[in-house]
């Protein structure tokens, strides 16, 4: 089962190769549901002449991404609020009425667990006044949310959402992903600086420090995957995780010692990269009002929000791709469920994890945050890199060696983990509860 | 039920596992350790019975299971197990006696907080001992032999905080190691000349005719056959382990260990290992070697009995009696009847274990009073102990017919009588018979009869069931083992079917019965009729022949003799080695060093004055040049960059214009 990609045209844009479903070798899983998205696209664009077709395909992909993730964003905000509510023992939004416009007279207001809340929020954001502070750097103030959203969206392009479902198949897709992701830092800084508000600026500085600090473990954590898969292409990485050992253990990277460690590091760094709690220092409301968002309102504010969720989705999607086998089913007999459903399930699971973490962890202090990165995550990620080398070196030999690499590699990562963790917690004074029992 | 030889290793493995369990249980886990040890021994006993059944099915065959230990040269170094009747009998004996003594120990040691370790060591010992028994390789036997020694060392020194115990342990280990060196050399020689250490290996073993004939044919110094020398070297090991003259000195001291240890190791099993070893390698032994063995055994038997007469410590008496009995066994081997030796070994194991355990029971009851002069009158409060002890005593003394000791001793005396070389050992043995009966009677009389002479013995009470039940079982066995020889010499047939038991021993039997009667009678006359009044009152025998008794009481001054000779020599050698290091070699090194230092001094003087001056001047001029160049450094970064830019332009122009030309 291999994806064969044929260059669509002889143009100089060979690097940008849009996957053309017609050129695909028919796979064993050509069930209707599996192929539905691609068939839908071809139904729309298939009639166009060839030079235009790939542009149309691209546009289709963009529209699809915006549609899917826009909706996902809307309901994720709701889910987040609901989940936070449940964790904090309160109901969460549950009162937004479902519009029943033509039949309002008969039905009255229907409250469906607050499912209409996102739309209400959207309307509210659109109708709010857009305030720009007096001394603000107007251009940057305007550009910041736009740039942020643009960069966040760009990252979604290379993630394979399902079999043959990748908008842009790049040779260096992983690199592209993180290159585009790195640019979001800039937007955050722009927002903070342009607001001409000392809290915003502080937030921008914090954001910068934080993003730089966590860029490193984030990048280091996926290098092992690239080493083992032998490719920077997301599609190839998913391919590398195909199959099952003994018929029931998937070859996902997360199920190896280095992969597990890499996954955890990746997720922690991703939390920080997407400014999520407990790393939400740039918008720490108890210290900085709302950080770089302080001077934003209305739809610009909504843009920031949207970008945050897009970023979260993108990083989670990348984690799924790199470590959790992408769109692959966990067990052979579950393959009848379409690939994008698997991807979506894994994505949602990770995002729910994000929310759970947000609900349960207290926020870090800035020095703790940087120390955690430089003194814990980075060394651990580096050790994990070496660990992967050991793993790869030991994989060639006898079955005994192949078995032995499990405890060896586990030890290589667990021992530093324990030790670094101890060193890490030893650097803090034991917490004293002065007023609590 | 039968146990094939391929699985015979299970028997030593069981106690080894028990030892492992004992080692890893926490300090308080006496119950676990003792249960594991006893369980292993009982299970081992059943397996041994299976092994015995296997062996008895083919009594003449030596079933072996050999295996490779590690690669050596083109081949491998092989070890192996052997299962033949002699090994099987030993297995049954060791496991049976061992199990009983283990059970006894639970009672005896229950106050000791390190009892768990005790069971661990006991199990280790049992494992090693069983290994000795079934080893089919002299090397494997040696390995187990040394481990037995280690266990003995650990157990003698079990109460290591007593300096005497620690010293006794060390003495035992070192003394036996002296013998072991002989064994090692013998083993090396054997290995070197035959290329194998396996006893039986389908015709290639060292005990099999080819190798033995080969060894007998080779002559070494003094016209001795090679096998004689090797046999005697191996005998050295047996001398050390079995407490034969002149290396017997450690055995009485070993009584510092807990009494069950004395019973198991220093009476029943380990000390008999030497005898077993000689029986095992009997095919190697030439008449020349046997002569030495016979005389050594006879001397030991007599000497042990003599010394025992003058001892006062209950365990010491038994210890010297053990020495004496081991001498008997060696005598039997020496005069060519290894079957009699093994028979005596088996019976002795039972009744001597019985005696030691009985002594342990007495000691336990009398709050660790071991001096027989301070005991007395225990017949009343300790009926079971008394009865069983009496059975053991009669077996040891050789009271006729009913007791196993009589038969085995009879077999030995018979064999000694039939020895063509000399009758001297026979007479020495007879003397020892009288003495044995005498000192055992003395022991009985002083301990159990008369009246209690100290507070401790007044308040003595019968020991718990865990101690008395083994006593009873052993007592039954001490009697029942007669069946091995009587009414028919069954053991003889099994072990050595070729040799036929000679008839006509009736006269000899009568003689020995008379001698035993004399011994017991004289003992009773001196000690039994008029019992001691106070613990401090004089010994009636010592009053009559004070010099002899004092000499014997001091164990014939062997320790003093060794201290004056061997120890002195050893210490002198050590001092010499140390002084050689300190004042000869080290001094030489120091002298060389001083010469070197002097040469260095001369060198330094010439260097400083002559060579260093010139460099200073050169350095000075270099520094001035550097100062001059540093002015070009203006500190204006823009200026530097500008200069670079202009320079670049000029260079390009030069190249381009130059290129045109």
């Amino acid at each position: 089962m291999s994806v064969v990609v044929v260059a669509t045209s002889a143009s100089e844009w060979t690097a940008l190769r849009v996957v053309d479903s017609l050129a695909l070798v028919a796979t064993a899983t050509d069930r209707f549901l599996e192929c539905a998205p691609v068939m839908l696209r071809d139904a729309v664009t298939g009639l166009l002449p060839d030079p235009w077709r790939w542009i149309a395909n691209g546009l289709f992909a963009i529209v699809a991404i915006f549609a899917v993730f826009g909706l996902l964003f809307a309901f994720l905000t709701l889910a987040e609020r609901k989940i936070l509510g449940r964790v904090q023992n309160r109901p969460g939004p549950n009162r937004a009425p479902t519009p029943t416009f033509p039949f309002a007279k008969f039905l009255g207001k229907i409250r469906t667990y607050g499912l209409a809340q996102p739309f209400a929020d959207g309307v509210k954001a659109l109708t709010k006044e857009d305030i720009v502070p007096d001394g603000a750097d107007k251009v940057l103030h305007f550009l910041a949310p736009v740039a942020l959203l643009a960069f966040a969206t760009l990252t979604l392009v290379v993630i394979p959402f399902g079999r043959n479902l990748v908008a842009l198949q790049l040779d260096a897709a992983v690199l592209y992903f993180f290159a585009a992701g790195a640019a979001t830092e800039l937007a955050v800084f722009m927002a903070g600086w342009a607001s001409r508000n000392k809290y915003s600026l502080l937030a921008a500085m914090r954001a910068l420090a934080q993003l730089i600090s966590y860029e490193l473990p984030l990048l280091l954590s996926w290098v092992p995957v690239v080493m083992i898969a032998g490719s920077l292409s997301t599609v190839a990485i998913v391919e590398a995780q195909a199959g099952w050992k003994f018929g029931f253990i998937p070859h996902w990277h997360v199920l190896t010692p280095w992969g597990f460690a890499g996954f955890v590091i990746f997720m922690v760094a991703a939390l920080a990269e997407s400014n999520r709690s407990p790393f939400d220092l740039p918008e720490a409301e108890s210290e900085l009002i709302a950080g770089h968002l302080t001077e934003y309102s209305g739809f610009k504010y909504a843009f920031f929000f949207m970008a945050e969720y897009f970023g979260m989705c993108a990083l989670s999607g990348m984690a799924v791709t790199l470590f959790l086998g992408g769109w692959r089913a966990p067990l052979p007999f579950l393959e009848f469920i379409p690939s994008y459903a698997w991807f979506g399930a894994k994505l949602l699971a990770l995002i729910l994890g994000f929310m759970w973490i947000r609900a349960t962890f207290p926020r870090l202090r800035i020095d703790q945050l940087t120390r955690f990165s430089w003194k814990f995550l980075v060394p651990l990620a580096l050790i994990n890199l070496g660990n992967t080398v050991v793993w790869a070196l030991m994989s060639g030999g006898s079955p005994a060696l192949a078995l032995a690499r499990w405890p060896v590699c586990a030890a290589i990562i667990v021992v530093p983990f324990v030790w670094l963790g101890r060193a890490q917690s030893a650097s803090y004074a034991p917490r004293t509860y002065r007023y609590a029992a | 039920m039968s146990l094939p030889v391929q699985y015979v290793w299970l028997i030593p493995l069981l106690p080894l596992l028990a030892a492992g369990i004992g080692a890893v249980t926490p300090r308080g886990g006496v119950k676990i350790a003792s249960a594991a040890a006893i369980g292993a021994m009982v299970l081992g006993f059943f397996l041994s019975c299976g092994a015995l059944a296997t062996a008895l099915a083919h009594p003449a065959a030596h079933a072996t299971a050999n295996f490779a230990w590690f690669d050596l040269g083109a081949g491998t170094l092989r070890l192996g197990w052997v299962l033949d009747p002699i090994a099987a009998f030993m297995l049954v004996m060791v496991t049976f006696v061992g199990a009983l003594i283990f059970i006894f120990s639970t009672g005896y040691m229950h106050e000791d907080e390190r009892a768990k370790q005790f069971f661990c060591f006991l199990s280790l010992f049992a494992s090693a001992m069983l290994g000795v028994v079934i080893a089919n390789s002299l090397l494997l036997l040696f390995i187990c032999w040394e481990l037995v020694g280690l266990a003995s060392y650990l157990l003698i020194g079990f109460w290591f905080h007593k300096p005497e115990a620690a010293a006794a342990a060390k003495k035992a280990f070192i003394t036996t190691r002296i013998g072991d060196l002989g064994l090692l050399l013998g083993m090396l020689w054997l290995y070197d000349s035959t290329g194998s250490l396996l006893f039986y290996d389908g015709g290639h073993g060292v005990l099999e005719p080819t190798a033995v004939a080969n060894l007998n044919a080779q002559l070494v110094f003094g016209g001795l056959a090679l096998s004689t020398v090797i046999g005697l070297l191996i005998f050295c090991g047996a001398v050390g382990k079995s407490g034969q003259f002149p290396l017997h000195v450690w055995l009485p001291d070993a009584m510092e260990g807990p009494t069950p240890v004395s019973a198991l190791i220093h009476a029943a099993t380990m000390v008999a290992a030497g005898v077993f070893l000689m029986a095992r390698v009997y095919p190697l032994l030439t008449p020349d070697a046997l002569k030495v063995i016979a005389f050594t055994g006879a001397i030991t038997a007599l000497m042990g009995a003599l010394i025992a007469v003058a001892q006062n410590d209950i365990k010491r008496i038994l210890a010297f009696s053990t020495v004496s009995q081991l001498g008997y066994m060696m005598l039997a081997i020496g005069v060519g009847s290894w079957v009699a030796a093994i028979f005596h070994l088996l019976t002795h194991a039972f009744f001597k274990a019985l005696l030691f355990l009985g002594a342990g029971s007495v000691i336990h009851a009398a709050h660790h009073e071991q001096d027989i002069r301070s005991l007395g009158g225990l017949r009343g409060p300790m009926k079971v102990t008394f009865a069983t002890f009496a059975i053991g005593m009669m077996a040891l003394a050789g009271v006729p017919f009913l007791f196993s000791g009589f038969w085995s001793k009879e077999a030995i005396l018979h064999a000694a009588h039939g020895w063509e070389v000399s009758h001297l050992p026979f007479y020495m043995g007879l003397t020892a018979v009288v003495l044995t009966a005498f000192y055992m009677t003395r022991l009985m009389a002083e301990t159990f009869f008369g009246k209690a002479r100290t507070h401790a013995s007044e308040h003595a009470h019968e020991s718990p069931a865990s101690m008395t039940i083994p006593l009873v079982i052993l007592a039954v066995c001490a009697v029942a083992l007669s069946l091995l020889a009587w009414p028919s010499p069954w053991l003889q047939h099994i072990l050595d079917p070729k040799a036929h038991a000679e008839g006509g021993g009736a006269g000899l039997m009568v003689l020995s019965i008379v001698l035993v009667a004399i011994g017991i009678g004289s003992g009773w006359a001196i000690y039994g009729r008029t019992t001691r009044e106070k613990a401090t009152s004089a010994d009636p025998l010592a009053a009559r022949v004070p010099g002899v008794i004092a000499f014997l009481g001091a164990r014939m001054k062997f320790d003093e003799l060794y201290a004056a000779t061997v120890f002195q020599l050893n210490a002198a050698l050590a001092t010499a080695a140390d002084l050689l290091d300190r004042y000869v070699w080290d001094a030489a090194v120091r002298l060389l060093a001083q010469i070197g230092i002097f040469a260095g001094l001369v060198n330094r003087e010439t260097d400083e004055d002559g060579l260093n001056g010139g460099f200073d001047a050169t350095s000075e001029s270099l520094r001035d040049t550097g100062k001059a160049y540093s002015r070009a450094q203006t500190g204006d970064a823009h200026g530097y960059l500008r200069t670079v830019a202009i320079g670049f332009v000029l260079l390009v122009l030069i190249v381009m214009l130059g290129g045109r030309r």
């Binding site: - | 160049y629 540093s630 450094q633 203006t634 500190g635 204006d636 970064a637 823009h638 960059l641």
Partner: protein
């Protein structure tokens, strides 16, 4: 005369280089000087890519390789340079380059 694409690229890089040079020469703010230098470096990198792109047999990606190494070195240079700027700032409370001339001979 018509310019070949390669020449166009070279003109592009020369122009960028000069922009960087002028910036570096004219500004007194050390950060801007550094940025100018960075720009010059990038302009140089452009040439590598351009020559690689238009070389007759571009199969060994030597030009790309050069650029990758160059980028790595430039990153190192930027880090150290800006650290120096901060050190200068700490020392003389401003970052005017012409004032940082204490080490003159």
């Amino acid at each position: 005369m018509s310019l070949s694409p390669l020449q166009l690229c070279l003109l592009f890089s020369s122009a960028l280089f000069c922009v960087g040079l002028v910036g570096a020469l004219s500004r007194s703010n050390t950060i801007l000087v550094l940025l100018g230098v960075e720009l010059m470096l990038n302009a140089a990198n452009l040439n590598f890519i351009a020559f690689w792109r238009f070389s007759p047999s571009p199969s060994p990606a030597t030009g790309v390789m050069f650029v990758i190494f160059s980028i790595a070195v430039a990153a190192a240079e930027a880090a150290v340079g800006l650290a120096l700027v901060i050190a200068i700032y700490r020392h003389q409370k401003n970052i005017r380059l012409q004032e940082a001339n204490r080490l003159k001979g």
